[in-house]
């Protein structure tokens, strides 16, 4: 599992993947196989790590190369892909679709066409798990930042995806809420996690880290080693 490695059947596989956003080359010829449960993605602002996450999450398409996530092509198998992959953004405001907390959690299940009782039971269980049960009927946009991000997490995880991609999920949060979100994300070994973060302590908790710079993936390996390399590149 090294940058530029030949594609083999890993869980997340990028083969010579590039992404253009307008005229700008946001991701430049990335090839990698990642099969670890918790993957940290680090790098400076504008280094390409969010584009990498969005490519894995099927939110942007590769202008060159191929992407395979758990054996699924995000473009050609979009329905199965959406069931398998959950995405959490840094700004929870943009993720809230429905007016109240319970309704927003239930929104994620609409595509599954569940029976009403089953959907309600899953929503109740999910809200309890994320400590939002008492807020079920509150307007979602009146919640605090931490509660909104918990709701966003709840909305993504209620569908029980096999892979969760979190793009700087703690960016707007205080230390306590960051810890809470991190515990939820890192604590469940049953699903794979791709965590884009500037919080190097969080990155250190992962099984592997990848480092981006100038749109290229320049290193991957044990988090301690990769974080050390990143920190040394920051030294004045």
């Amino acid at each position: 599992m090294t940058p530029g490695a030949a594609a083999s059947p890993g869980i997340l596989t990028l083969t010579h993947a590039s992404v253009h956003l307008g005229d700008q080359l946001a991701l430049d010829d990335v090839s990698v196989n990642l099969d670890q449960p918790r993957i940290a993605v680090i790098g400076s602002n504008g280094s390409g790590k969010s584009t990498f996450a969005r490519l894995l999450g099927g939110l942007v398409t590769a202008s060159a190369g191929t992407v395979s996530v758990h054996g699924l092509d995000p473009t050609r198998q979009s329905t199965e892909f959406r069931r398998a992959v959950g995405f959490i953004f840094s700004n929870p405001d943009a993720q809230i679709i429905m007016p109240t907390v319970a309704e927003d959690a239930a929104f994620s299940l609409r595509a599954d066409r569940l029976r009403k009782a089953e959907s309600a039971a899953r929503v109740t269980a999910a809200l309890e798990r994320f400590g939002l049960a008492d807020l079920a009927d509150r307007p979602a946009h009146d919640l605090s930042g931490g509660q909104k991000q918990l709701l966003a997490l709840c909305g993504a995880l209620i569908r029980e995806p096999r892979l969760v991609i979190a793009d700087e999920p703690t960016a707007y949060l205080d230390a306590r809420n960051s810890r809470l979100i991190a515990d939820h994300l890192l604590g469940d070994a049953s699903r794979q996690l791709v965590l884009v973060t500037h919080d190097l302590a969080l990155a250190a908790c992962c099984d592997v880290a990848v480092l981006f710079e100038g749109g290229r993936m320049i290193a991957s390996g044990h988090p301690t080693e990769i974080i050390g390399r990143y920190e040394s590149s920051l030294a004045c």
Binding site: R54, G57, G58, L59, T79, R82, R83, V85, G86, F87, F89, N91, D93, A94, Q95, I96, I97, M98, P99, T100, A102, E103, A106, F107, S108, R110, A111, D137, P139, A140, H141, G155, A156, R159
Partner: protein
Amino acid sequence: MLTLYRPGTGWLHRAPAGAKALVILAAVLTVSLLPSTYPFAAIALGSALVAYLVTGFGVAVLARQLVGLRWVILITLGAQLIFLPTEPAVANTSRVVGAVLIASLLVLSTRVVDLLDAFERGLGPLRRVGIDPARVSLVLAITMTTIPVLTRVATSIREAQRARGAGRGIRSFIIPFLVLSLKHADDLGDALTARGAA
């Protein structure tokens, strides 16, 4: 606040959203079509009072709704008093207030999700002419949730203007507001895709 739903277990809460919407629509139409006289004005407001009592919401919820309608009442009554005699002006305002109060029972007793489901079912026949009811109901839901977000965006722009010593110029407000609104629309589009709705 755009979210008016009040949790409860009464018969109106338990009634199916579609049937409830039709019955309330019929009641609203009936109140709207009453003649513009004092007795019928009393009937319009009395119907609203009875409706709140029999559905279990009570006088306190009715009073809160009335407070929320205070500007509607003032503007409707004030505008009509300029052009009409007192009796039709008061009666028309009473019919409007009665109708809005009765219509509010629908959103007070029904979750938005259930309303959207009923709306989707009701629009089902439009599939034949190429309209997707699920998309129409999704647009309604997004509209409801986007208004508070854009209100917050507007507030933060005004605060930023004040912090930088700028006046309340419309141009210096509109451009960042449009940019941030479009950014929000982009983010929302991504979220809808990520949540399997697009």
